[in-house]
Structure formats: structure tokens, C-alpha cells
Symmetry: C2
Subunit: 528 residues, 2 copies
């Protein structure tokens, strides 16, 4: 939808999106193409709406080292949608050599004489696609070097950050665009506390700028220092675009204390089967005129539908009696009925866009506390093989009896472990440290049993080695989380055994070590 | 050097290079940057000579999946040297949708309205950077999708190949440019024999075209069908640019039977320590006017110098007596003297280009047949740590007594194993098959001992896992080759034991299998 009244020479039109996660599940025969389809939809919205530029909040790529196919598809889309003759109508007033100092071509792509850019893309990096390795390059730098994206908001120091804005002007509207690529939350938290984060401001007419800040961090509290409190951010900011959080809360929400607005666009693909991801996905069309702004929501039409529901078996004493020998069949029949209803709803909600994938993602979480037994998920999944996109994890059994009485431990393990293995030595350490601190020393922790590990290994034999370590760590953490929860409800609260934690940590390191040296160590024995 | 008389509107000037192997040894602290420096030198020659285009003969990348740094550096160089305002002065007469049918942007990059290309690069792929995976993409396709290279000569069938030329015209000169990306030699050999390779010719004025063919295959005979005999190529061709072979033989050599010329530019980096790589490296400046051509040699100035010499201890009975208890010291002193002389020569031959790396590559091959013992290479290497680029493999001991009496087995294992591990299942099979057929059933083969394997494993523990398999297979093959040679000289010729060969083959498969599943199998035991 065009807004003629706003298409004037003083109004910036900015397409805002984040967490596109290109390449997520790319090898899945059903879902493999989802991220690319939606990325094209987003770029197409940008073109149709004739935006001035696209602003991305990080995690354009799902993998730190995206596959050749993913890089190729991304280059293809950017070249197709973002190049062309339509002139870019804003200018850059700041020193581009400062804004893009780490680039081999330290200037904005649309001003490069050799490239015909119609829609510049500005992006910070997320935790999934952050710079790594001796060369400190990230996947965005490939796009940047190819002239198809402007990677900004990169800090080089781990102690102190000065954020220099890109100063943009269109007619009488001036935007100071601040960006900060993903940094481990605790480190950034510490830097904020120590006053080591400075947002530089233009010298002239300080108050005439619309100050836009894009960030990619935990917004919700995952432990004492494992997120960035909104009040840490400077109050001269007008709008924060908050990446990383996948739930779409794109309508600007006012932080009354700081008096700025926060827009959380959310991801454009479902990467975890949690309620937040089931919220309808949107991107934003941000209009800025003078110091006024308006965020227009654009519903994404190509996102695979996702429905999630919970059943608590103990809430239906009339239906399920744990002493009845046929109770498992009754539960299974009930679940099937639920899934059918969810499939109906999913079908009704489809938007009619021919590019929207047909099979929905369905998740039914079954709380079987109260003496019930889980039924075979494998057989259940078989029935939905051709009707849902995620037959293997359609049902999730858990036990949360007495949960209402006790405060749930608020650990988001999805986020903690969702990034790939590069430079993992440091990462696992961080991870365990986060875990440790998050647990707030209120709970007791124990190592996994060998049996648990064996099952995990069994599961991972079919997968890519690259994913195996990540998955294994994830598995470990989830197991431990489950253990923690059960302990919290069933037993008295005991203080955490720090030594056990250290063993857990060592165990993680050991796993990685093994994965790298194993093949060589065992050659002589196995080849004889 | 400019040739004013040839800079006319009817003369094509083409920079010809091949086997640049970007990223070769990129992690080596001394040699890591060599390939990038020389690539920039090559592009700079192209720019200074104002060529019409660059023609590459494959293996621009060393790894099938080049690192992020390598891709980034390559994009940087191409964007820096090949974009700009100088107009391209030739036109394309053929149907570009046919020439570039597998590209997402099936037209030559310099005609893209959104890209300002001053030097188009045309490249076939080599065996190192050939298309792989379900998406059948290769590293060149990333460059191609970014608009910085024109990947051509790609065939999609494995049974039949029709090569459609890119038809180019500059003034009155017309070139039909044929390309054929690397294909396993035996498969292509078979297709040629079965008349399944067709070079299409322009319908009009068939004889008015200069027919230029670029190919990336074995040129020298590695077994009966493991190369492409020159006489397989059509005799209407005027010039063949032959990639893959690393020795520089760039001056066009006439095949009297077929009456065409062959130019073999050779690699621009030393990737194996063999005599062919010690030949001075050049690229070519090819002038084509009407049907006349001239190949001007351009010496590369940034290639690291490489010197190789052989010593046969048994040829110096006056100096070395195997019964003398101090003979090993005498040999060591002699080798040291040799190396010093080679270092002197290397220093004198340096070209004065500030970008040429200082430390030379030195290889001294010592034939210790005749009752001598090798000395400790480790201690010897230590002395040259700061003076040569390859201290660890400066000395190579071998035994070749009586070699002169018997024809050497002509196996080129460097080439057989030089490609990376992707899709290795098929490759190892091919490899073993090649090996098998190459051995011509005249020699007996035996498995390696466990001890040999153990040593290999010891060596590889420090290396990247990615390289380990490749190296291990290479090690195996070399060991086996040595074994073969010794058998040929020391014993009667026996017919090959096919079953042993099959075991060898299985062994290779097994190694790969281990490398992928090992980490998971052993988790339960090691984590308990």
C-alpha cells in the first residue's frame, strides 16, 4: 500500500526487518527453501514500496559460515532486487571512512561509481553471523565486498565502544543512524555498567536529528547480566530497532522512563517451536519526517504457518485416568483430535499467496505429569508425514506438575546454543558461564548419565558433523535444564555445587577436542 | 611493455593465465599470502596492458570450498582491478543465454546495466574448483553471481557434450571461444572415443573465425586413458590454452599432426616440489588479429622462487663410503653446502619486485641407495627455519638405485590426490580405479603396515582435519608407489593381485567413514 501523502521529498521510507536466518534448515527437503522465499518477499516489499533503504537488525545468515548455496542465493536476491536505475534520494553527511572503516571499500555502495544500486541495504551483524577467525570477517563482509550491502555498527575493541552514527539527510529530514553488531550480552552489559559505551552525537544542531539505533542483543532478562536493560540506552534516542528476539512486536512501544520507542520486528522464519514464534510475522515500513515517525506493519505472506498448543493431562480427570490400562490410547486419540483441529486452523489462516508453503508447522506440547506415560511419538509422527512440515517433532512431552506454585526458571537455551561451532572453545566457555550465572546458585546440577549421552550419540549419527557438536551441547543443556526443573519442584532448594559445574564445563571442552582429533587417533587400530 | 602497432581496433589483447590456486597454504604463516599477491600482480598486468579480457584456464581456487578469507580477497581484487570506466571494445555475437545458461544472470557481466566492468574475466572451472553438491554450484558461481566473472564451458551431461562457443568480435577480428571445464580424464577420454564430444561451429563464414579452446585436463599421459591426447581435439582449432599442468610451457607449441598450437601457461604458484614447478612462471598476453596470433610472455615477478636439485650419493664414491662410521655427517655437510649454494642462486635470481616474498622454497632430493642411511631431517630443517619458506620439507630422501636400467612407473600422484575432499566417496573410487588401471597389471601391490599408518597419523595430528584425509590418502599412495618401485627393481615382475587392490580400495573408504562417524561413536566412552 502506497501512502501518497508521505511520499514527499522530506520523508525517509525505511524497510525494517531482522533475523532472516538465510539457510536455516536448508537441507530439509520440506522447509529447506523457506528462508530464501521470504527474503525475496521482503526485498520485493522494499522495491514495491520504493523505500529509501533497507535496515536489517542482524542474523541475515543462520550459519556463521553459510553454505555456498546460501551465499549464492543471497547474492542473487540482492543483485536482483537492490540494483537498478531508480535514484537513491538521500545523502550521507558523515565521514564514510569512519562508518565503514573495516571495509575494503569504505564507502556506501550506492555511491560507488561502478555499481548501480537502487536500494541500499544497511545491516549490523547478529550473533549468528558475527565476525570470527584471524581475519575477523563475517558473512556480511562477502556481500559488502561484492558491493551489495553496507555492513556497519562493527566495533573492534572488547573494552570500549564508541558508536559513530551514519548521518543521513533527505530534504529537511536528518537521521543519525547508530548500529551495534551483536556482542556477548554479558560483555556488553559490563561495558555499559562501566560507562565504556559512548554514542557520539553530531556537533551541529544536535537536536535536529532523528536518532535511530539498531541493536542485536537479548532484550528479555536471561539472568542478572545476560541481557541489555532498555534503560542502559541513551535517552536522546528516538527509536530503537531491536533484533535477536524472534517474537514480532514491531509496533513501537514506548519506554516511559527513557522516553524512546522500541520496535522489535522479530524473525521472518520460525526457528524454534516456542509460542513467541507463533505470533504473526511482520516487517516494518518506517516513515520518518523531521522528528516524527510512523511504523507501518507489513504482514509477511510467505512465512510457513506455525501453530502451537499445550495440553495438561492432569487438567482432564474426566477424560484420563492414569490407572486405566487404555489411558495411553485415549491420550493418543485426544492428541490426534487436537492436531486435526490445528491443521484446520492452519489451513484457514493461509493467505492465498502462491509462494506460501503448504504444510504448516504444528507443535502440541503435552504435560504428562500425574502418573501418565508418553506414547510412541514415532508412530504418531508417521500419520502426519505428508501433512505437516515437522512430523518428527510434532509432539513434545514434558512434566510441569506444580509449576504454577513455583516460579519457572527463565532460561532460554534456544538462544544460548543456537549459534554454530566456529571458535567454539571460547563459546562453550561463555555458554557454560552464562548458564552458571543464570542459574543464580539456587539449584543443584548434576552430570548427565552415560545412557543419556548414548541416546544423543545415536540420534546424531545421521546428521552432519558440523551440527553434531552444537546439537550435543544443546541436548546436554536441555537435559540439564529438565533436571534442574524437576529438582526445583520435587525437592528442597539446595545450593549449586560449583565443582559439578566445572566438570560439566570440562566435559564440553572434551567433546570438541575429541571431535577434532578422534579420526586420526583411531586410524591405526581400525585400518589393521 | 606496450606494442603500439598492435593496439589497433582489430586486435584482441587477451591476458591468459591458469591455475592461480587462490588460498593454497593460506594458513601457512610464511606462504599464506602468496597466491593473493600474485593474483593481484596478474590483474595489474591486465590493467596496465589494457587487455580486452582475461581468460583463465581453471583452478582459480585451490579448495572446492574456499575459505571466507579467500572468497573475500578474490572479490576484493576483482572489484578493484576489473571494474572501472574504460569501455570494453568487443561485442558478443552468440546467444548469451546459451553460453551462460546455468547462471542466474545469463549474460556477460560487462553488458549488465548495473555493473561497470572494464575488464571482463572469462573462466572455466578446474578440477579443484569444479561444481559439486546437490545444487551443482562451484566457487566461480559466487563470483559470477556477484557479477565479477563469467563462468563458461560448463557441461551438464555426463554422457554427451556439445561445446557452444562464445562468439566475440572486435573490429574485423572474430574469435570463437570454446571452453570445457574440468571433467575426470577417463570419463572425457571415453566420451571422445565414443564421439560424444562435439564442438559446434558458427554457421556463417566458418573459416573466418579464430578458434580458441581452453581446457583443464591431464595433458601428459598418466596411464592409458587418464589424459586427453592432443589429437582428440578438433583440427579446426587454432590455439588451445591448456590448464591443469603446472609447468610453464606458454610459448605456443605446434602439434604437427593436428596443425594447431598449444599454449600451456602453467600455474602461478608452486604447489608441489617437483622440477616442473621450478620452471620460471609466466602469464601470456595473447594478440589475435584476423587469424594471426602472437603470444607475448610476461614473467611474473611476485612468485616465490623455488629451487630443486638432486643428489645421488652412490655417484660420489670418492666422497661417501657407506662403511665409514662418519659417512652420515659427511653427507649432511655436503647437503648443507648444496643448500647454501641454492640459497645464493635464489637470492641472485630475485627480481627486485618489493612484493616478491623473500624466503625461497628449496628442495634437495637425496638418493641414498647403496647402503646409506638418511640423517635426521628435523635437525637439518632447524638450521633453515628463518631462511627458507619450507624448512620442514627441504630434504627429501629416496632410493632409486638401478632406476636407469628400468623404465620408471609414470604415476603422477600429486595430481591424483590434489583435490579436496568434497564428494570423496566417488573420488576415492575413481582414484583407486585410475591407480589400478595405471599400474597396468605388471606390478604387485601390498597394503601398508600398521607402523606406516601410525607415523602418518602422528604427522597429521597437527593439521586441519579437512586436509588430513586428503593427506592420508596421498601418504598411502606414495608409500604404495615406493613399494611398487622397489618391487620392480628388486624382484621379478609378478602379476598384480586384484584382491589386494580391492582391500586397498576398501581401506580408503573406511578411512573416510571413520573420519565422519568417529567423534560420535566414541562419545559415550570418553565422556564417562
Amino acid at each position: 500500500p502506497r501512502h501518497e501523502d508521505e511520499d514527499d521529498e522530506d520523508t525517509f521510507k525505511i524497510l525494517v526487518a531482522t533475523d532472516i536466518h538465510l539457510g536455516y534448515m536448508e537441507k530439509d527437503p520440506v522447509r529447506g527453501n523457506d528462508t530464501f522465499v521470504t527474503f525475496n518477499e521482503i526485498l520485493d516489499h522494499a522495491r514495491k514500496n520504493e523505500v529509501d533503504f533497507i535496515l536489517l537488525g542482524g542474523d541475515l545468515f543462520h550459519d556463521n559460515k553459510p553454505s555456498r548455496k546460501t551465499v549464492h542465493s543471497c547474492l542473487e536476491s540482492l543483485r536482483k532486487y537492490c540494483m537498478g536505475d531508480r535514484p537513491v534520494q538521500f545523502e550521507i553527511l558523515s565521514d564514510q571512512a569512519v562508518n565503514f572503516h573495516y571495509s575494503k571499500f569504505p564507502w556506501v555502495n550506492y555511491q560507488d561509481e561502478n555499481l548501480n544500486i537502487s536500494i541500499p541495504v544497511f545491516s549490523i551483524h547478529g550473533n549468528h553471523d558475527d565476525p570470527t577467525g584471524a581475519d575477523a570477517l563475517c558473512a556480511l563482509d562477502i556481500l559488502s565486498c561484492a558491493g551489495l550491502l553496507n555492513h556497519f555498527g562493527r566495533s573492534t575493541s572488547v573494552e570500549k565502544i564508541d558508536i559513530s552514527p551514519i548521518l543521513l539527510r533527505k530534504g529537511r529530514t536528518k537521521i543519525a543512524l547508530y548500529g551495534l553488531g551483536a556482542i556477548p550480552d554479558e560483555r556488553l552489559y559490563r561495558m555499559f555498567v562501566n560507562k565504556q559505551v559512548t554514542m557520539l552525537r553530531p556537533k551541529e544542531d544536535e537536536d535536529s536529528w532523528f536518532n535511530l539505533f539498531v541493536i542485536h542483543q537479548n532484550r528479555s532478562k536471561h539472568g542478572a547480566t545476560n541481557y541489555i536493560p532498555e534503560q542502559f540506552l541513551d535517552d536522546f534516542i528516538n527509536l530503537v530497532v531491536w533484533g535477536h528476539e524472534h517474537e514480532c512486536k514491531i509496533a513501537p512501544f514506548k519506554n516511559e522512563q527513557q522516553r524512546f520507542y522500541i520496535s522489535q520486528p522479530g524473525s521472518s522464519v520460525v526457528t524454534s517451536l516456542s509460542p513467541g514464534e507463533a505470533v504473526k510475522k511482520h516487517i516494518g515500513l518506517l516513515h520518518v519526517k523531521g522528528k516524527k515517525m510512523k511504523m507501518e506493519k507489513i504482514a509477511l505472506e510467505t512465512v510457513r504457518t506455525f501453530h502451537i498448543e499445550d495440553i495438561v493431562l492432569a487438567d482432564h480427570p474426566d477424560l484420563f485416568n492414569p490407572d486405566n490400562p487404555n489411558v495411553t490410547q485415549a491420550i493418543q486419540a485426544f492428541c490426534m483430535e487436537k492436531v486435526e483441529l490445528m491443521l484446520d486452523t492452519a489451513e484457514r489462516e493461509r493467505l492465498g499467496n502462491p509462494r506460501q508453503p503448504e504444510k504448516p508447522i504444528i507443535r502440541l506440547r503435552v504435560d504428562y505429569a500425574g502418573g501418565f506415560e508418553p506414547f510412541s511419538v514415532h508412530r504418531f509422527s508417521q500419520k502426519y508425514m505428508h501433512r505437516v512440515a515437522n512430523p518428527k517433532d510434532i509432539i513434545h512431552f514434558f512434566r510441569r506438575r506444580e509449576q504454577k506454585e513455583k516460579k519457572e526458571i527463565d532460561l532460554n537455551f534456544e538462544k544460548l546454543v543456537s549459534r554454530p561451532a566456529e571458535g567454539t572453545t571460547l563459546r562453550v566457555e561463555d555458554l557454560v558461564k552464562q548458564y552458571f550465572q543464570t542459574a543464580e546458585k539456587k539449584v543443584q546440577l548434576s552430570l548427565l548419565t552415560e545412557r543419556g549421552m548414548g541416546e544423543a550419540v545415536q540420534e546424531f549419527v545421521d546428521k552432519e558433523e558440523k551440527d553434531a557438536i552444537e546439537e550435543l551441547v544443546k541436548f546436554q543443556l536441555e537435559k540439564t535444564q529438565k533436571f534442574l526443573k524437576e529438582r526445583r519442584t520435587d525437592a528442597v532448594e539446595e545450593k549449586i555445587d560449583e565443582e559439578v559445574m566445572v566438570v560439566f564445563c570440562c566435559c564440553c571442552f572434551f567433546l570438541e577436542l575429541i571431535s577434532s582429533i578422534m579420526p586420526r587417533i583411531f586410524f591405526p587400530y581400525l585400518s589393521s
